[in-house]
Symmetry: C2
Subunit: 204 residues, 2 copies
């Protein structure tokens, strides 16, 4: 299809498509003349992915590019593939107070979670828990943190039970699923809070 | 305490504190001379809250102000209070395709969740599910969505079980807890995915 048809198929304006091509986010079409190129379904799918990550997922174009780079070269084992997807999604150079880093590591160890030693998510978690504590919300191995970890395990099971066998499709699903479903979970949590609050607190 | 001591107590530089005062995010201190004012623990607590919401929570200062306005005038029932907190956190003017709005409403109804008719979170959820579907991830009443809703209910129970009786403290906990714990949940989910993936997929 021509670029105008790619635009119709994806709902993305031609100038934006040209921007994606210039920035290398979208692979070039097959040149059919000096000024025209032909695009196919792989281009439409890539455009929809870029939109999903940047619009719905709220990722910067620089991070979209990192994610696309990871998607372009998927590792062959599904476990390493998950690592690659998560690396592309985790902010670089996260550091936190060593005490909180140790707390986060201790927490996942006590849960029995197998997490590699240099996993940057540990420091990310440490920093997030530190922020909670600074805001006056108690953080220990007690109720809320354990309940969240239980919930995270159920969600991870649901996430992984639907990962396809094909590595490229699997990576795409993990990345897109993670970026796009974090907001869904946040919204469901608020709705569930309203429902429970209506049951628990509302005056009759 | 003087502004320099407030700065020491909170770790926030004096020029930033002056900015918060100018912008009305921080209530004025008690004027002790033409150029000096005295601050107390209520100022330190407010500064920590602003930092938590803007730095760790990633809220814009405009939204921080909305949240602070809601905190300044807490409703008396804990159920309405939750609504006020959530209103301050929900982006304004969210709209979505009516078909997806209806799907989201149908979903919460089928879950038996009591949600008010004009709840803006319904359209927010509809838009998020629409984005998932556009990215090629199947959305129906089946496995992932139901598993997420189950997890959301457990999390909401944990959230609400620790809400204090005092309305102002309760509102603060709900708002801060929601803003600061969404990222914690997202990180725990990734860690749980890694753990499950190591168990399920890793080559021996």
């Amino acid at each position: 299809m021509r670029i105008s048809q790619l635009s119709d198929a994806t709902g993305v304006p031609v100038p934006t498509l040209k921007f994606y091509l210039r920035e290398g986010l979208l692979h070039p079409g097959e040149q059919t003349s000096r000024t025209q190129a032909r695009y196919d379904e792989s281009h439409a799918e890539r455009v929809r992915l870029i939109r999903a990550l940047s619009e719905a997922g709220g990722l910067s174009l620089a991070r979209v590019r990192q994610v696309l780079d990871a998607l372009g070269d998927p590792p062959s084992s599904r476990h390493h593939l998950l690592g690659a997807a998560q690396d592309a999604l985790t902010p670089d150079g996260t550091t936190c107070d060593p005490e909180w880093s140790a707390f986060a590591r201790g927490f996942v160890d006590r849960r029995g979670w197998q997490i590699r030693d240099d996993e940057p998510l540990i420091d990310l978690l440490g920093g997030q828990l530190h922020a909670l504590a600074e805001a006056g919300i108690e953080v220990d191995d007690g109720a809320p943190l354990m309940a969240w970890a239980d919930a995270a395990e159920s969600i991870a099971d649901a996430d992984l039970s639907t990962v396809p066998d094909d590595p490229a499709a699997a990576l795409r699903q993990v990345v897109v699923g993670t970026v796009l479903t974090d907001p869904v979970l946040a919204t469901l949590r608020r709705l569930a809070q309203q429902h429970r609050s209506a049951t628990l607190f509302e005056e009759k």
